[in-house]
Amino acid sequence: MITRKYLATRTSYAIVTAIIALIINFLLPRLVPGNPVYTILLTKYHYLPPNQIKLLESQFGLQNPSLWYQFQRYIIELFHGNLGISYYYYPSTVVNVIATHLPWTLYLLGTSTAISSLIGVIVGKYIGWHSGTRKETFVSALFMGLTSIPFFWIAVIFQLVFALYLTNLLPISGAFSVTLVPSFTAAFILSVIKHSILPIFTLVLVSFPGFSLTMRNTMVNQNREDYLTLAKAKGIPERLIVKNYAARNAVLPVATHIVLAFGYVVAGAFFVEVVFSYPGIGDALYVAVTSLDYPLVDGIFLMITLTVIIANFISDILYAYLDPRVELR
């Protein structure tokens, strides 16, 4: 049940967190020695053209040294959707760079989360119902092991295997064949799907065990509930008990797990993109980090953080709505 107090607490958390993220995003770059204008000009021209310095300084809002002034500018620009200009993709704006990379990441994340939550729920339902058996212990231990393997290493190993032993079976880098021009043709779409198989498979493999274990744990808890004892006493077939009684109640926390795991899966998607040279946000972040493109790093940080904060907020509300028993604070 969503009470006004619950809504107020959750909203205030989201706002406070967002403000902290904004402050980090504003302050960190300004605490570091060095002038971004000089950095960008030196990497671009290898000397400092005086007319360019003035122009860039005003573009970066550096002409006034007062922090407070810069903070106001920062907030105003932010609400105008201006996150600055990327050094690496100069003269592209950060917003533009993010906008061109984001669809690829959303595609990877959406598809892999849908597949892994589905597999996770089905497998978790099964091992949860059979908990305590030897088979279940083995599978659970295996899953715990799987969740502790770094995403990027699995990706590298797949790439190695498909480069060495299963050569030419599946593409191991890029998002589509370089000979094709992006368009809505069957050939292009097929190429996109083929290129995404390995990245998605990697993401699914490392994230579905988490879903299964959550599902397993809630299934085990359901087993102790009185309503299940009653259902068994009534002689309802076990298959129906699992399907219509236990699993229905156990699936709720998995819904929250999907959102809670969001931050983790996003990070995983980034690594997978780097390994497979997949042109998503992770790839852009990698380029930004290695080329010291500070505005791009800041912009991506802000975008992901705000997205995760909003996702968290929605999941809290959704959970209270779905499960009226949830204890509210």
Binding site: I20, W153, T305
Partner: protein, 299 residues
């Protein structure tokens, strides 16, 4: 008579406590999961400590031919500029474990302190601490790690401090909820009634019962920190000249090791991380099971 009785009494108490600890450890070792996890973890620790002594070459020696496959001269072959991969790996083990262990130390200290204080002294302190934790838990860790690592000087110390400062909130939550249940147990009330001070109850009565939980979480944090450090290094963050599993994977990726089929360079660090992760899980689950059984027996 009295002055003599005092030390005697405390001595006999101490020996009883020691035999308790002995039987606890012996009992836990009887758990197969705990034991196998512990053995793997100890084996890696040993490798980390002995690394510099068993490495046949210096990890900075680049006088060998590039991309040599494994042979008796180079157990794990050589890399793109002719490092001996085996030497790099065994010495890197030490660095990776050191980073993991120090991060875990910081996290465990902060997490336990906050959890204990917050759980035991409820009220305003608890409120402030837990609201802070709530907020910290919402901020996604990876982007925060990246942005901090980008702006702060790229050294291992920075990496350790960032990871240590960011991973305690979760642990404090776990400890706090355990303190909350322990606080209501009869032996704690008995201690309070017999006139123990607050801090004495906290450290003498509650803290020992938290130890297994703290140890399990500390081991998980070691693994989490090793993975996080490797991930940061893989992303080109932190000290890339440092010899460890993460930088090993970074250089392999950035020098296209896959094109050269250099599996001998890619497999060992990742497999070690996976093995340590599995070992930590076995260790934790086993210890948990044993503690559960034991408290069952006592009741």
């Amino acid at each position: 008579m009295l002055p003599e009785l005092e030390p005697l009494a405390s001595k006999s108490l101490k020996t009883k406590k020691q035999t308790d600890e002995d039987s606890f450890i012996r009992g836990a070792l009887g758990n197969r999961k705990f034991l196998s996890g512990l053995i793997i973890l100890l084996a890696f620790t040993l490798l980390g400590i002995l690394g510099p002594f068993i490495a046949p070459y210096s990890p900075y020696n680049t006088s060998f031919q590039s991309w040599l496959p494994p042979s008796s001269a180079h157990l794990l072959g050589t890399d793109y500029i002719g490092h001996d991969v085996y030497s790099w790996f065994v010495i890197g083990t030490g660095t990776s474990l050191f980073v993991g262990a120090t991060v875990s130390l910081i996290t465990t200290f902060l997490g336990t302190a906050v959890g204990l204080i917050s759980g035991y002294y409820s009220g305003a302190i608890d409120n402030i601490l837990m609201r802070t934790v709530d907020v910290l838990l919402i901020i996604p860790t990876f982007p925060l790690l990246v942005i901090l690592a980008v702006y702060l000087p790229p050294t291992n110390t920075t990496t350790i401090l960032i990871l240590g400062m960011l991973s305690w909130p979760f642990m404090s939550r776990v400890i706090r909820s355990q303190v909350l249940t322990l606080k209501e147990r009869p032996f704690v009330n008995a201690a309070k009634l017999s006139g123990y001070s607050g801090s004495k109850v906290l450290f003498k009565e509650i803290f020992p019962h938290l130890l297994p939980l703290i140890i399990i979480n500390a081991v998980y944090v070691v693994v989490g920190a090793i993975v996080a450090q490797a991930g940061l290094a893989f992303f080109g963050l932190g000290d890339l000249s440092s010899v460890n599993w993460g930088t090993s994977l970074y250089w392999a990726q950035s020098s296209d090791a896959i094109v050269y089929n250099a599996w001998w360079w890619i497999v060992p660090p990742g497999l070690s991380i996976a093995l340590i992760g599995i070992a930590a899980n076995l260790f934790g689950t086993g210890l948990n099971e044993y503690v559960g059984q034991r408290s069952g027996e006592v009741r």
